[in-house]
């Protein structure tokens, strides 16, 4: 175990997988000479050379499609979006090519590719650079969507994503790159995709959170403990396929659920989780499922407004108290 930042853990995962498999290569804007816009790819150019660590022109649709094509014939590309905001330009290739290729070819062409990069809110970067994209990608069968919340998860999940034979959307939270945590050194340390983790066990209410909301949910759980409310915090880690069983199991125990997310509420992942809980565990619920989401507006620039747009510990605490009727 070593203590490192999320960014270092991601770097380690990429480095180890590139050593392990010569078919793994990395491409994206500023990943090589600049050492990564967020320094996730620091040192990789020096270690692996420009054949495998490739700076691309600013041409997201083009290099996303190029990656998918390379994956069709057996390579394992890691395509970095400098931020997931720019993936919007590449969605045709991600959705129409990567997600559907295996199905429409009758099982002949798998697409082992990882699209990764920072997503979610950042610090005062305005509406076009600050948005949560996971519900877009999670909508499409054929894609897997992963969002780590700790450095250890980041390493284990990214390694699994790179080894996986399907296209994986791997969204790192921009605000969390500097977060520190213990990370196993083992080169074969992987975390299976599609498996949720109970980050904190509890009995009175379940908080389903992901990514940036996990540390906040854990803080909220601490506060609620003071009030005598024991919260279970679940991190699905993989948004699709969603480990709904772990969530349902928890709901059956606590009978109360809050889903916390920084994304917009409308048609969001929280809405999906809420719907599935209602369908599968309605009789176990003692209160309606409550969502805590980002405010339903484009991200404002002003610091005070931005702070209001992203949910915090206070909102999660209030929501849990609401479903617990205290």
């Amino acid at each position: 175990m070593a203590v490192m930042t999320m960014r270092e853990a991601l770097n380690q995962a990429i480095r180890e997988e590139m050593h392990r498999d010569p078919g793994v290569f990395l491409m994206g804007e500023e990943v090589a000479a600049y050492q990564g816009a967020y320094k996730v790819t620091k040192g990789l150019l020096q270690e692996f050379g420009d054949k495998r660590v490739i700076d691309t022109p600013i041409t997201e649709l083009g290099f996303a499609g190029l990656g998918v094509g390379a994956a069709m014939v057996g390579l394992r590309p890691i395509v970095e979006f400098m931020t997931f905001n720019f993936s919007i330009l590449a969605t045709d290739q991600i959705i129409n090519s990567a997600a559907k290729m295996l199905y429409m070819s009758g099982g002949q062409f798998k697409i082992p590719i990882v699209f990764r990069g920072p997503g979610g809110s950042a610090f005062q970067v305005g509406a076009q650079h600050s948005q949560a994209m996971e519900s877009w990608f999670a909508y499409f069968p054929g894609l897997k969507v992963v969002m780590p919340s700790t450095p250890a998860d980041a390493k284990g999940l990214l390694k699994s994503a790179i080894r996986d034979d399907d296209p994986v959307i791997f969204i790192e939270q921009e605000r969390m790159y500097g977060n520190k945590g213990e990370v196993p050194d083992d080169e074969d340390y992987t975390i299976p995709l599609g498996v949720a983790e109970v980050k904190r066990a509890g009995t009175d209410a379940t908080i389903v959170a992901r990514s940036l909301m996990i540390p906040l949910a854990l803080k909220a759980a601490d506060e609620l403990q003071q009030l005598g409310l024991s919260c279970e915090v679940i991190d699905p880690r993989t948004i699709r396929p969603l480990d709904i069983d772990t969530i349902i199991e928890s709901v059956k125990k606590t009978n109360r659920v809050v889903v916390a997310e920084e994304s917009h509420p409308f048609c969001g992942v929280g809405a999906e989780i809420s719907a599935q809980i209602t369908e599968r565990a309605f009789d176990h619920l003692d209160a309606p499922v409550r969502r805590v989401s980002g405010i339903d507006v484009p991200m404002p620039y002003a610091k005070n407004l931005e702070n209001l747009a992203i949910p915090g510990v206070k909102e999660i605490v209030a929501a849990v108290k609401e479903v617990a009727y205290v």
Partner: protein, 369 residues
């Protein structure tokens, strides 16, 4: 660097000089002469094979139209009639282990790359015996065995994919080349420009074959493109560009051979503009009110099959009776394909849920909604 020179532009002059019937006749005569000259370089077996493939595609498409109107083929069905010399000429210039990616007008490329007409027809019918097991349809045919990497149905979407396949072959150090076919309307998409830029920047062995049939659905090239001379767009990215007459199968083959040499030996891309014409509608549901009967008939005078068979006959490469015999055999093959497709079973119900993920993790399928 550009290889666009006076010689490769000459066909352009022929096509564009169509003010009257006399000019057209002259053009056809010139084309026949050029074709006859080229015949000399190829053995009889190759020539007959080229003719056979074009004929097979023509008859296959005629049969597809028939089956479509009988309701045996669903959805969209984009026929290739009139453009046969392009797919056949270009694909005849590559090896079996080279790659082909194309658009939704793809039956011809699939057949030319070596997928059986049985498997192509069965795919059109949505049957288990189809080359994509009935899950792709007219616009999404694939066959790993012959490196046919698909029909792709978002205009221009296959161009970055093909560029990626070429990237991978260079990465792996093989000498395979990748052919990417697309219509002229795709040239207006960003995907085209982004791909050409990367291909030349990184020296990727990809050959971009623009099948300029002069209409993007019902919109003529003139109404959609500011610079009509598509091969010149290669200049913007400093890659080799060629113009070639798409009604001349041997010219298409020769241009592709030059591009293949560049790709195989130097890892260099090429843009080939192939001027052609589609005799049928955009799809089976096209009312065709955007062009005149006379315009279509004018182009039908330059029917690639008729021009090639005339050259074969005039040079004594083949006799009338041999051609008739070939046509009869092709008819029979297409009839067999139809029967195969008819008799092939529908995909099993379980197929609905398979192939969504290569690694389904045990919790996908109907449960993971």
């Amino acid at each position: 660097m550009t290889t666009t020179d006076a010689k490769s532009r000459s066909a352009s002059a022929v096509i564009e000089a169509e003010p009257n019937e006399a000019g057209l006749d002259e053009g056809i005569a010139q084309l026949k002469n050029e074709q006859k000259e080229r015949l000399g370089g190829l053995d009889r077996e190759t020539l007959l094979d080229l003719h056979h493939q074009m004929l097979l595609i023509r008859r296959f498409e005629e049969k597809s139209a028939e089956a479509y109107s009988l309701g045996k083929i669903g959805g969209f069905c984009h026929l290739y009639i009139g453009q046969e010399a392009v797919a056949v000429g270009a694909i005849s210039a590559i090896r079996r282990d080279d790659y082909v990616l194309t658009s939704y007008r793809e039956h011809a490329h699939a057949i030319a790359k070596g997928i059986s007409s049985d498997a192509v027809m069965a795919e059109l019918f949505g049957k288990a015996g189809g080359c994509s097991r009935g899950k792709g349809g007219s616009m999404h045919m694939f066959d790993r065995e012959v490196n046919f990497l698909g029909g792709h149905a978002i205009v221009g979407g296959q161009i970055p994919l093909a560029t990626g396949v070429a990237f991978a072959t260079k990465y792996k150090g093989t000498d395979q080349v990748t052919l990417s076919f697309f219509g002229e309307a795709a040239v207006n998409q960003g995907a085209f420009h982004e791909s050409l830029n990367m291909a030349q920047l990184w020296k990727l062995p990809c050959i971009y074959v623009c099948e300029n049939n002069q209409y993007g659905m019902g919109t003529s090239l003139e109404r959609a493109m500011s610079l009509h001379d598509i091969s010149r767009k290669a200049d913007a990215y400093e890659l080799a560009g060629e113009f070639v007459d798409g009604m001349d199968v041997l010219a298409v083959r020769a241009a592709t051979e030059r591009a293949v040499k560049r790709a195989r030996e130097q890892y260099l891309p090429t843009l080939i503009e192939v001027r052609t014409y589609r005799f049928m509608g955009h799809s089976m549901s096209d009312p065709g009110n955007y062009r005149t009967r006379a315009e279509i008939e004018k182009h039908q005078l330059r029917d690639p099959l008729k021009l090639f068979s005339a050259s074969l006959l005039e040079t004594g490469t083949v006799t009338e009776s041999e051609l008739k015999e070939m046509d009869q055999k092709v008819h029979e093959e297409v009839e067999r394909a139809l029967q195969f497709a008819d008799q092939s079973p529908e995909p099993a119900i379980e197929e609905l849920y398979t192939d969504v993920y290569a690694n389904p993790l045990g919790i996908d399928g109907p449960r993971n909604r």
